[in-house]
Symmetry: C2
Subunit: 145 residues, 2 copies
DNA sequence: TGCAATTATGTTGCTCGAAATATAAAATGC
DNA sequence: GCATTTTATATTTCGAGCAACATAATTGCA
């Protein structure tokens, strides 16, 4: 393996990490208007789709553990976006349900994806193809686990 | 824009974010043996390449700001991997220089890239191509700034 | 039945990551 | 030469992200 392989720029992991943060920065001004952080926006994407979810399901879908989700969901509950309640059938399970206030944000957020696609300068098909490639890479990486 | 565009899986930003963290998890057991975190490893990649750097240069190369770098570099100095010193010509500038101990880690880390390429299940050319694609995307995103 | 193993969530402690602000040194302009 | 602006770094504060551990409910099996 050549020496060049040890530079920062040759590391795919660094590109992914830096690009991910660059995209966070693009989202921020848009999400600031909704008083959301980026991970909170991801939680809402899930809840807008299915109205409610257990913490375990959220954890699997977002690949975040309870140490991250529990305090984050508490903050979101405090700001009225969702409600948490213990399941009656199985008291270990906490169900998270979106509130009216949380649903209202969906309309205000509806312009975000298109707006960011445009800012990226990429064609929507390029984006979808890249997305598929990354998802494939991630499944290999996750299988390795 | 169709409704499907608002699912989590359709978001390239989420794939990048989740994939980046999945790769962090792959690095962790290898970096644990060197007592390094992933961002610290990135700093060392730069310093292994150029021996010394100002904080400003590190900040630009890694796209991390002083609020992240200053405490991180202090921890790395405390563990003996590098030294920080004010420039004599311009006392605003802090130069970070790798130590002997920091250089020694380079040998012990030399197997990491190949090891991770193998675990990814991807061909090295696929990885380089994907890297180029991501870097192109990031430059568009960063131009937008 | 009863007890060990598993499961779902919560807590603690540490490290990023970044916005906002502070501080001190250097550059600039009059 | 001195005030203003710019530059480089540091500090504060908050929100993730995650490992390690704790806790309580459920399951499974002898």
């Amino acid at each position: 393996m050549d020496q060049q392989r040890f530079t920062l720029d040759s590391h795919l992991c660094f590109s992914l990490y830096a690009c991910s943060r660059a995209i966070f920065r693009m989202y921020r001004p848009l999400l600031d208007e909704l008083n959301l952080t980026y991970p909170q926006y991801l939680v809402l994407l899930v809840l807008w789709d299915r109205q409610e979810s257990s913490i375990k399901e959220l954890s699997q879908v977002l690949s975040l553990d309870s140490g991250t989700l529990t305090p984050m969901l508490k903050r979101m509950e405090a700001s009225g976006l969702l409600e948490r309640s213990r399941s009656l059938e199985d008291e270990r399970i906490v169900t998270v349900r979106i509130t009216e206030k949380g649903l209202e944000l969906q309309d205000r957020a509806s312009c975000i994806p298109a707006s960011l696609v445009e800012s990226s300068g990429l064609d929507i098909n390029q984006i979808d193809m890249l997305n598929e490639t990354i998802r494939t890479l991630m499944s290999s990486v996750d299988n390795y686990r």
